[in-house]
Subunit: 155 residues, 2 copies
DNA sequence: AAACAAGCGTAATGTTATAACATGTATATG
DNA sequence: CATATACATGTTATAACATTACGCTTGTTT
């Protein structure tokens, strides 16, 4: 019975699931109400959000006060599972649109309007990795960000 | 007399000056005791340091308690003048060895020992800039960092 | 049932960064 | 020299970002 229930729930979940949930569960993670809510908060807007903005969003969505550490825990988990990226120069978090395959995401952050563009360019990230490797360094995670002005703000 | 004094002091300063001081003064900056002390704190060790570590170091050096904002002000100034770089993924600051010419510095940060290697590779940084520009973005400052393991820690 | 691990709650604290306003210091000018 | 002015720093407080420690609940394993 327990097995049946679990199978049933799993089926429902995967049925509703977006790619993020699917990838997360495929890796053995549990797509709880809390985690679902955090992911929706991160993915909600185009703009990246700070951990405390996400905290407020989730608190509103769930109708009760959520502690910041709960959010940080889940963000860290999501980053490990490639569902979320942290933008280091902004202290913000953004949902990845490619949870299936890890990537060295590149972000263009506009200092005018805050709009952030997400790029994946393997040739570029590989060049950085190669440069690091050439020195004997073993790279793990890449941080490639450009701060400047978007098209709309460059006037 | 005032003019004489100034000329004299200036001569002494430039005589002792390292490249950083020289470049800073050439750009019209004043190499005050405070700024000198902050620069020495940043440059003191190979490892990058946090703003509060620098604050403590400077406080010790001057024998009195310095406020964190004083340090942040000067770090910002140094970054603008290309004397210091901020490592975004670590919240640390490191002295630049090329104050004369601005560069898109690349940092390799070891997660084992904290050792940070500073690279300048224009081909790589230009590729990132070109990628950004191709989207209509106008890049200003680049952030290119690799987190991983240095030679000594990769065993 | 008992043992165990995962997930989250709660509160406190630590760390990094900035704001607002006062005071001091160098330099120019009359 | 006196005074005006801009620059530099001091002081205090607070904001913003992140982690620690501990306990409770729930689900899973034995
Ligand atoms: Zn990506
Ligand atoms: Zn913009
Ligand atoms: Zn450099
Ligand atoms: Zn190392």
């Amino acid at each position: 019975m327990t097995t049946n229930n679990h199978a049933h729930l799993h089926q429902i979940h995967t049925h509703i699931a977006g790619p993020a949930q699917h990838a997360f569960e495929a890796a053995g993670g549990h797509w709880t109400v809390m985690r679902k809510s955090v992911f929706e908060a991160v993915a909600a807007e185009g703009a990246p959000r700070t951990a405390y903005e996400i905290t407020d969003h989730v608190s509103s969505a769930l109708g009760r006060k959520i502690g910041a550490n709960t959010i940080y825990r889940i963000l860290e988990l999501f980053i490990e599972h490639n569902l979320v990226s942290r933008i280091e120069s902004q202290n913000t978090y953004v949902a990845c649109d490619h949870p299936q395959n890890p990537a060295d995401c590149i972000f263009l952050v506009c200092s005018g309007c805050g709009k952030t563009t997400h790029l994946d360019d393997q040739a570029t990230s590989e060049q950085v990795r190669a440069l690091a490797t050439a020195t004997g360094f073993t790279p793990d995670r890449m941080v490639i960000e450009a701060n400047g002005r978007c098209v709309g703000c460059s006037l």
